[in-house]
Subunit: 353 residues, 5 copies
């Protein structure tokens, strides 16, 4: 049941703050990448131990720690190193969270949904991305290594754009922006699928077309659930009390906010479109039914009386005067043709022909 | 009528504040359990008389009084001992209340719905849990002895987690948290039922499938009615004017708030899913109907004219020249085969075959 | 048309504030009852003239004047005696008002809907009750003498509960509470009717079941219209600027507010239930249709071809070799049985049998 | 297309503030009536020129200038005389405005919809009424001379009620009140039409009943569009910053506000009623269909097999032993009767009979 | 798929603020028109280079720079000359934005949707118009050269109306007003189409009528998406913190706000109308089906039993006494006529005839 909601298996009986991974994906060997940069310098390292990250902190440069694979031990290590709240660590591991932003003393915490689209199965896959932003550092957590952040890394390396000229707040914005931009890619792909479906619907509706339409509608709900709370997250961040957001970044956040609204509108428009396609489909099915009934009615209504007439003269009574008439047989034919013509005229009059 | 709302039989003519038990369950012999703890000490006792509880109050340790079975006398005794408002006591006994939080001078009062799922009957059972929280004491009232709070008791006994390090406010949070966590268990079970139902629907829809779908939809309404007002309760508690909530607990309440939102979303998603399943079901029924009609139409439309033709030559007229033709009989067969072939081609053309 | 809204025949051309009775009930001879009480004394009198009420006013005791029967003269008299605003008096006489609360200088004015249920006709009857509350006096106006306030009178007489210990504000609360409590009685009765209807629907749906369902739905709208604005009234009263509400009463009002929400929820649940019953009904009708069609199709599809075969050998051609075959007749039977069996297997395969 | 919205043909290319009459009605010769009154004096005059109005302004008496027929020249004249904003004048001439209130320095401007009901065509006709209120003067603009304000004029002339004791604000209130009161007259008339329609629906549904139901639903939308924004207008006026509204009038405005809410509720109730009538109609049509199918099925299912049996013994095979049996014929009849009885029992069992 | 939402192909991997044109239209050779005016002077020039605009800035006269064709180079040039924020420039080029207003330090930025209606294809075409307003200058960007602003230019040239007497804020208002006025033109054209469609629907519904209805409904959604956010834009501008809006212009903006509300209402009314037309269509289709079934049922139910009767006497049994009766044949006819008459009376009784 692909469309069913993922009910969070909140660990029963565990104390709040216990670190238990909740999710579908096999925990892979986790990978920790550290990128440290300012406008002039750029370092990129894959570290083995969380403790190695520590040395980058407190320097004026911006540090981005990206952790792929949700390993309970590493998360606990990060928590210990940076002094994060245990509930925050629990949320990182529970991948059924909805997008949100929590402000803590000295850092802000984000949960986002990174979506990818499996074009073969025509299914949306959801991955939870968590971000922690403090003064000069962004820590990001992914379930699996993805390529959504790759263009960003490239821009960092090549010092293209203004990314390396701004602080950690702009980096966090850029990461969220990369995720939101990817929603549009998915919307475009689903849009293509819907277009195909529309052609199929008009030309050659299949047995499972309705199921596919409903599946698409459910995908829209999935998208909506990922995008809708994001609106609030970004708006909270823009207005935000967190002292980390510079005014220059705020303008970019406003722009990002507009993008999420735009994505929401596309989702709603697709939903309306799918509903309207379902209506058209149902109408077509009804029209077909009416047409089938019409054919049966016309054939039946014409031939049933005729058969009656001929069966009358198939009776074996001794005394049936008509049977001996010379013109009996042609007369019966005449009557039968007359009846048919009258019927046909009646049907034409009713516009059933 | 399992899905019908429970109309509170508010005692007519009784003055407000009269203590009358309103509910379905046979009042069992009530049981009073007192747990008194701080980080170092832990006492657990089953007392006979409400008055015995009194001695634990006013000490720096946290006291949890749990009362199972809504006995009017005991409730009245509690009210007298602690000086609670009569309306509060009336609310405890009226088990048709909706979840709410009332703040009184010196204590806060909560009504919650503890849900359990009878897997055999596939029905949700609702039990009302009331909590009173003051400075150093939590009093909880249950209709029957349940096991939802058992893991919590275990954590208290074994001093696992941070439970014994915090005050009564954290205990109250933990009790509400235990109830909310159990909603997810129920959602998961209902999710499984819905999954089974979906398979049944696609493969072998039964006569009562629609009734079951509607029953599930009504269960979603029950869940919604329990969870939705809880949101408000927790938010009120978090912001709350009550002086009992410490800042550290506030973070946990925010987390709990997120959980209720998440539960609400699951409920809504299931509801959408059930609606979409109903649509698919109706569509399948219509498709079946169309298919049945098609078969009748094809068979009828082909054979009714043929029968007419053969009945014509079953007439007993004296003068029917065709009957004496040598090739009359094969000719009629030829005509009949021709008619059938034309019909079949027409149907193929219409894509009804 | 019992479900049609009562359009207020606002007297056209009359100046605002004109006293004209607008309502369905024959104006009965009005009855004025005065109850004057404090914790120690209790007087109950039926007076003839409004002026006799005057003497109870201004004393520290609480006075309750109850007027049954909306007589224009008496209302005008009351208005004159107490100096009430003419619009208020007009509202009392116009029984098509929606529940509301208006605050005037020195007194507050309430319009409420008292509902009763005619179990024979299964119809809700609406009666408008108006209340005026000032410092030490409550004046209530009823269309007909009812028994909803009787338990209250009894409690006053017998000094049961805390009613006589509180002021006029608590009396007003008790009157509203009595009306709201009666809503639950009605909801329970309608609940029973709906339960009966549900059984009828599943076992033996009648021709008029759908009409009854829609009638019940309209009753829910009537209830909703009476209860929904009440929420606002009570909330306004609780927060209220009126200086008459003591803090102790405020807690009772909060409780009353919760009751109206609870009643609203029951109404909404019944409405959902009725909608879902309608859906089930429509589905059952469709299923029945499909089943009928199936029987016709199966019988028709099997026998129409067989009849064709036998009619072929009823033709009277001179040269029909099969007719002279010794095994012709059994052969035809064999063919016909074969055709039937093939058909039946096809239908079984299609799961129509 | 009577139900189609009137799209305002906002004059393209005209500068904002250009005075162009936009509306359906032939501009009649406009009529200007001036009524000047205080508690003691009353003057009523029909003037030819706008300038003659001027002399009444600035005196302590209240002046009511009523202009029937939207003549661009006269409106311009008024604008010049009193110094009104050009946009206001443009709004008066554009009769497709929605109800609104605009506050200008020194005067307030209202647009209202006066509705009348053409009982023959069963259609609602909309007329735009504009009001300008300043310190001591009300100017009203009507498209055609109507009689809705006549009772008001009568009350002014005869000094009935308190109208002449109050200022221009109370006059403005009375004009709006007269319009709102007329909504109830229309609602009552439509209510009667709906009642007739309901009877027709249950007893003898016509071909065009559904069209009429939809037409009525569209009328409800028209009413809603006229009444809904009025709510806001009155509430704005009541709270209003305009210094013209005295406190005594404010109470009347609150009452008027309640009336609009009441009218809205009637509209909504009628709409629900119409929807429910449509549902009942559709259900009746479906039931009829099912009944028709049932008759066809029963007759067909019984006689098609019987016809088959008799056609078997109409075959002309040489060797059909049954034909020579003495009891062959009665036996066939016995079989046929048996088959019919079994069929009928089956149908009774299925509750189709 | 004309109705599908345009998913913004936000350039993946591009840094925010990168200037990339996103849209369907072939970028034409861009055209820059500069109009500079005050009440006395008027200059109009087509410039080649953005830099030539510079000289008009800073003077007390109002400058309107209109750029047709979204050329990345020119936009960048404008940005450089005037120091606009890069995100703003990116928004101008991304033509899938929703209408919005962004306030920057020293200037305000608007995105609007200019709609045109292709009457042949019955399709709405959307063009994005961006406006930048600062102290004394308005810069507008169009995708293609349109004629919506032509009347405005004419008014400027001829100094008609008050346009040249006001500042840049009034010019910006006039531009938005021109766009909104054009919405009414489109609404009127669509209204005509809907009217035609309604006639077609009642008289001669075509196969594709439903598709057309749904297409029109989708156009309403497109209109809604263009108009709805505009409301917010204008309201923001009216209240706006931007120091550029003079109080006199504010009144015009309030008027414009009313116009957008009016346009929204027309859209909603059309949508309701289309929904109601769809309902009527579906009802007509169902009625037709019922009528067809009725004819089949009547003919079948009458003739199937008659055919059975005559087929009985077509049997070839040796001993069938009726066959030898003198009156056998007329008797059978009598029976058959009797059966038909009974049937017909039954049908008339059921009101199927």
């Amino acid at each position: 049941m692909s469309g069913s909601p993922n009910v969070s298996s909140v660990a029963l009986g565990h104390a709040p703050g216990s670190l238990v991974y909740i999710g579908d994906r096999e925990a892979e060997t986790p990978v920790i990448d550290v990128i440290d940069y300012d406008d002039e310098n750029y370092t990129e390292r894959r570290v083995q131990d969380v403790k190695e990250c520590k040395c980058y902190i407190g320097k004026p440069s911006v540090t981005w720690i990206n952790i792929c694979g949700l390993n309970e031990e590493i998360i606990a290590g990060i928590g210990e190193q940076f002094g994060f709240h245990p509930l925050l660590l629990e949320d990182i591991l529970n991948t059924e969270q909805r997008p949100k932003m929590d402000e803590y003393e000295g850092y802000a915490f984000f949960i986002l949904k990174m979506l990818t689209y499996d074009e073969e199965k025509e299914e949306i896959e959801t991955e939870q991305v968590s971000l922690i932003l403090n003064e000069d550092c962004v820590i990001s957590f992914q379930e699996v290594e993805g390529d959504v952040f790759d263009p960003l890394r490239e821009r960092l390396r090549s010092n293209k754009g203004i990314l390396r000229k701004h602080g950690a707040d702009y980096l966090a914005y850029s990461l969220i922006d990369a995720i939101v931009d990817y929603y549009f890619v998915i919307l475009e792909k689903i849009g293509d699928d819907i277009e195909d479906l529309e052609d199929e619907l008009l030309e050659n509706p299949q047995r499972d077309t309705v199921e596919t339409l409903h599946k698409k509608k459910r995908q829209m709900i999935t998208l909506r659930k990922s995008i809708w709370p994001l609106r609030e997250v970004i708006s909270k961040l823009e207005r935000g009390g967190t002292g980390f957001i510079e005014d220059t970044t705020r303008i970019y956040l406003r722009d990002l906010y507009d993008h999420t609204i735009q994505a929401m509108e596309s989702v709603d428009t697709y939903r309306d479109l799918l509903t309207s396609m379902l209506d058209i489909y149902v109408n077509n099915v009804n029209n077909k039914m009416t047409e089938i009934m019409k054919v049966l009615t016309i054939v039946g209504t014409i031939f049933i009386p005729l058969t009656f007439i001929s069966s009358v003269y198939g009776m074996n009574f001794e005394y049936m005067p008509e049977l001996d008439w010379r013109l009996g047989y042609p007369l019966v034919w005449a009557i039968m043709i007359l009846v048919s013509v009258v019927m046909l005229l009646y049907f034409r009059n009713k516009k059933w022909l």
